[in-house]
């Protein structure tokens, strides 16, 4: 009886539920604050397109997985819960992989093993363990959306920096002109004709780490509560 009463009292987008979505976007970002899901976050941020596809895949897997786990939460024996969770994630990731292979073969080729690695992305297991195992389906879906979007947002932010300065383009469209020499300008067109050059360092793996480090720095100097002692 009390449960029913509670349900009526709590609207679909109550303050608590809205917080589930907005918190992971900033002060509780899964990548920069909870330190989850870094494995795949860095490797595929060379181009914005890959970041968008990866972010969308993770949002789908996280929302669907959170919902399934939350529905099953009273049926899963706690001793084998890790394996049950892994099987659910793996099935969802197989769906994502087959869809990508069928409709976006180029992107799927570039992401190669990193689609498979969504299975062991700590974000997914982390949210299952910390949230979906203990909460009702609706808040779990919201939590999945919030964390998925927080993850995808950071991924795209890093990818924008890396693609803009590393390749001079965004989503494959040139921003600074073309570096290919033409008849009248030997250095290329746009900014390149003035001697601008792409920073090849941006494309290499270590820069991804340094960009995330700088994002963390900026975020923590704005929000002093997040600062660690060591």
């Amino acid at each position: 009886m009390s449960e029913v009463a509670e349900k009526i009292k709590e609207p679909l987008f109550s303050k608590k539920n809205r917080k589930l979505i907005t918190d992971p976007l900033t002060d509780n970002n899964p990548v920069t604050v909870q330190v989850l899901g870094i494995c795949s976050a860095l490797a595929i941020t060379v181009q914005v397109m890959q970041g968008v596809v990866m972010g969308a895949s993770v949002i789908f897997v996280l929302v669907a997985g959170n919902l399934i786990i939350s529905l099953l939460r009273n049926l899963i024996p706690s001793k084998i819960r890790i394996i049950v969770q892994l099987v659910i994630v793996a099935s969802l990731v197989i769906i994502v992989n087959e869809v990508l292979k069928a409709f976006m073969p180029d992107v799927s080729e570039k992401l190669s093993v990193f689609v498979g690695l969504i299975i062991t992305n700590c974000i997914i297991m982390g949210r299952f363990e910390a949230f979906a195992m203990a909460n009702k389906p609706w808040p779990s879906i919201l939590d999945g959306i919030g964390n998925g979007v927080g993850y995808a947002g950071l991924l795209i932010l890093v990818a924008v920096f890396r693609e803009l300065f590393g390749s001079g383009s965004l989503m494959g469209y040139p921003i600074f002109g073309s570096p290919i020499p033409t008849a009248d300008s030997p250095l290329g067109t746009g900014l390149y004709s003035m001697g601008y050059m792409n920073n090849n360092m941006m494309i290499l793996p270590p820069m991804a780490l340094i960009i995330v480090g700088i994002i963390i720095w900026i975020q923590r100097s704005r929000n002093k509560d997040l600062i660690e002692t060591h």
Binding site: I83, G116, T120, P205, P206, L209, R220, I227
Partner: protein
């Protein structure tokens, strides 16, 4: 065709799991606060990689790959089960980790004391599943090569986590900007270490035919330049 030694050295240095592919970053960042725990987790990763990758290799080649079921009879030759590989690999990893944990607890209590708490963590470490997926992607020709790759990757991961743990122990005495303390500085240091590890890309591996051709091509291109230089000096001498 790469030799086994090439695969091994490449997996440690130029294709290091952490610095080139960022696999297993979550536990790398979480467990690298002291050298002692880092050594424990590193050893556990080597151990689990060396056990799971060969098992997954056999699974891939005798069960999942297109045409892998041929040994059961000709009518099975055109079955392709590769879409099942994710779920099979992760099931193998999770169950082997569980099995290893129980065996180690029973037969080597001292080792269990050292590795114990890290073993369950490893089932969800990206580097283990990553090892299996890279093995599938690169299609190593023999079981021995796959094992060399897994051992190399494990050692590479071990080196990376022990190195960062040692740096983090020392950095406690330095005056890092407050907002950068902890996670931020660890990211930046890992980035710098990654740059240092990139210098290993210059190692020349075995007899790579393409590379040899490219090298001879460069010599061919260089030769005319030398000739013209000689010609110029001769001209100069004549002028003198």
């Amino acid at each position: 065709m790469e030799s086994t030694l090439d695969i091994f050295v490449k997996a440690i240095f130029s294709e290091n799991m952490i610095f080139a592919y960022f696999l297993g970053m979550c536990s790398y960042l979480a467990v690298s606060k002291t050298v002692k725990t880092a050594v424990g987790l590193g050893a556990a990763v080597i151990f689990v990689l060396v056990v799971t990758v060969p098992v997954n290799y056999l699974l891939e080649n005798y069960l999942l790959k297109a045409g892998a079921l041929e040994w059961m009879g000709a009518e099975y030759a055109n079955i392709d089960l590769s879409f099942l590989s994710f779920i099979m690999f992760i099931a193998v990893v999770a169950s082997i980790v569980q099995l290893v944990e129980m065996l180690v607890e029973k037969f080597a209590p001292a080792l269990y004391g050292a590795l114990g708490i890290f073993l369950p963590l490893i089932a969800v470490n990206c580097s283990i599943l990553g090892g299996a997926l890279f093995m599938q992607d690169r299609q190593y020709s023999t079981l021995f090569d796959a094992t060399a790759f897994s051992l190399g990757s494990g050692i590479g991961w071990f080196i990376a986590i022990v190195a960062i743990a040692a740096i983090r122990e020392k950095i406690r005495y330095s005056n890092v900007p407050p907002a950068l303390r902890g996670l931020g500085i660890t990211f930046i240091i890992t980035g710098l270490m990654g740059m240092a590890f990139m210098s290993f890309m210059g190692i020349k591996y075995g007899k790579d035919k393409k590379e040899d051709k490219a090298a001879t091509g460069m010599i061919d291109k260089a030769a005319p330049a030398v000739k013209t230089a000689k010609a110029i000096t001769i001209k100069n001498e004549i002028n003198d």
